[in-house]
């Protein structure tokens, strides 16, 4: 069987669209989608 592949995802977090990297090799597509700065875990110092 042959045809076209199509898939859409909705991402539940803020991402950095300009930072998305895609790599295709041997029939596997890998996407690296970075979190937006505002979504990154941070440490809050207790003063």
């Amino acid at each position: 069987v042959w045809g076209v592949f199509d898939r859409t995802f909705s991402i539940p977090i803020q991402i950095e669209p300009d930072g998305i990297r895609a790599e295709y090799r041997d029939g596997i597509l890998a996407l690296h989608i970075p979190r937006a700065e505002s979504q990154k875990p941070r440490t809050i110092k207790i003063g």
Binding site: V1, R25, D26, G27, I28, A30
Partner: protein
């Protein structure tokens, strides 16, 4: 007008095909899963074309051999690129591939050819001369 829920979705969802795990005969000594590659077989007048999907397998990690009239295809996947990753959601199980086919005497085992591109391996199994259809002249 009836506004009941008779509306059918006009677009059918693609079904995810479940990968089948290889039924082990000899037990494995490697702690990795092995799957049956999804396969299509086509027949032409002079050969059988066997197409197997083995995503993630490159030329260096595929092994095709014929032993005791059995054609065996094995593909190893590089697990290192998954190391350190925590799965959040998985549909596609990572594992090696293995599948065997019994060859009839109609296949010329000396001339089997294989080609791997984009994780899809294509095997050409030429028919033996004696197995090809022929026309007999009536005298």
């Amino acid at each position: 007008m009836n506004t009941g829920d008779t509306a059918m979705p006009d677009q059918q969802e693609l079904q995810v095909q479940q990968k089948r795990e290889v039924e082990k005969k000899p037990e494995s000594t490697i702690p990795a899963r092995r799957f049956l590659p999804v396969t299509d077989i086509f027949e032409t007048s002079d050969a059988l074309k066997v197409i197997l999907e083995m995503p993630g397998v490159d030329k260096e990690s595929v092994d095709v051999r014929v032993e005791n009239d059995v054609l065996t295809i094995e593909g190893q996947v590089d697990f290192t690129k998954y190391q350190g990753l925590t799965p959040l959601y998985t549909e596609y199980n990572v594992g090696n591939y293995a599948r065997s086919f019994e060859l009839s005497s109609k296949i010329d085992q000396e001339r089997i050819g294989a080609e791997l591109k984009d994780g899809v391996i294509t095997l050409i199994l030429p028919k033996a001369e004696k197995a090809k259809p022929r026309k007999i002249t009536v005298r």
